[in-house]
């Protein structure tokens, strides 16, 4: 199970619409807990696959290094990644699987049809290494702001 705040969930879906017809990609920062990965921040990343951005994505390693540094500064870890599939189902592809190496992390995929985000799914990469890795469907818990937080926010903005 992956837990993500509504604002982050909407932000990653919006990212896929913005980059359509190209794939978007980004990193999920948070903490891995007993009940799954909890996302506390998302970071947009550039897609370096400009040669085939409509059906491939890649995050530059140096960008990942900097994002990992950012996560450390916030007291978070990299707990997953997200990307979009323009005009393609929100299911992992052979390419996604072959290029997945972050065991224990969540891979969120959003199908973007004709520029509009549709289904968003998440897959947990399980296993101990390349020989036994597998993508496992995982539920997505979208956390909405508690009423007390809304009241506080309204008080701050009043």
């Amino acid at each position: 199970m992956i837990h993500i705040a509504y604002k982050h969930y909407e932000a990653l879906r919006a990212h896929g619409e913005e980059t359509y017809p190209h794939e978007c990609c980004g990193v999920l920062l948070g903490k891995s807990e007993a009940d799954g990965n909890h996302v506390y921040e998302i970071v947009r990343a550039g897609n370096t696959r400009t040669d085939s951005a409509h059906n491939r994505y890649q995050i530059a390693p140096i960008e990942l290094v900097k994002i990992q540094r950012q996560a450390r500064g916030l007291g978070y870890d990299i707990v997953g990644f997200y990307h979009s599939h323009p005009d393609h189902p929100a299911m992992w592809s052979k390419t996604d699987f072959a290029e997945a190496h972050w065991m224990g992390c969540s891979y969120i995929i959003t199908a973007v049809e004709k520029g509009a985000s549709k289904i968003t799914n998440s897959f947990l990469l399980t296993g101990t290494g390349e020989d036994d890795k597998a993508f496992q469907d995982e539920g997505v818990t979208i956390e909405v702001m508690q009423s007390a937080e809304v009241e506080q926010l309204q008080g701050e903005t009043a």
Binding site: R49, R56, Q58, P61, A98
Partner: protein
């Protein structure tokens, strides 16, 4: 110097995000790391001892593969090594 471990490999470093080692160069630092945590070796290197293709090793902000001395690049105490597996994919119809 510090070596930063990515989330998936912390299972082999007793959960440590950062490991401190003493070494003269990158290769020595990685040797020290995998001597302390032997189970890490197979995830970083092929049986032939080469860095796995999807594993990136950065000395501060520089990819070690592109340094003139590569793994023989000298390091000092204040340097930081970051191990970062690659991330890529896509719906890529050609691969389905």
């Amino acid at each position: 110097m510090k070596i930063h471990i990515p989330t998936p490999l912390r299972a082999y470093t007793e959960g440590k995000e950062t490991v401190g080692v003493t070494a003269e160069n990158v290769s020595g630092a990685l040797d020290a790391l995998t001597t302390e945590f032997p189970a890490l070796r197979q995830h970083l290197f092929t049986p032939e001892g080469k860095t796995r293709s999807f594993v990136n090793i950065y000395l501060n902000d520089d990819d070690v593969r592109y340094l003139p001395e590569k793994e023989a690049a000298p390091v000092v105490e204040s340097d930081e090594l970051t191990i970062i597996p690659s991330i890529a994919g896509g719906c890529c119809l050609c691969c389905l």
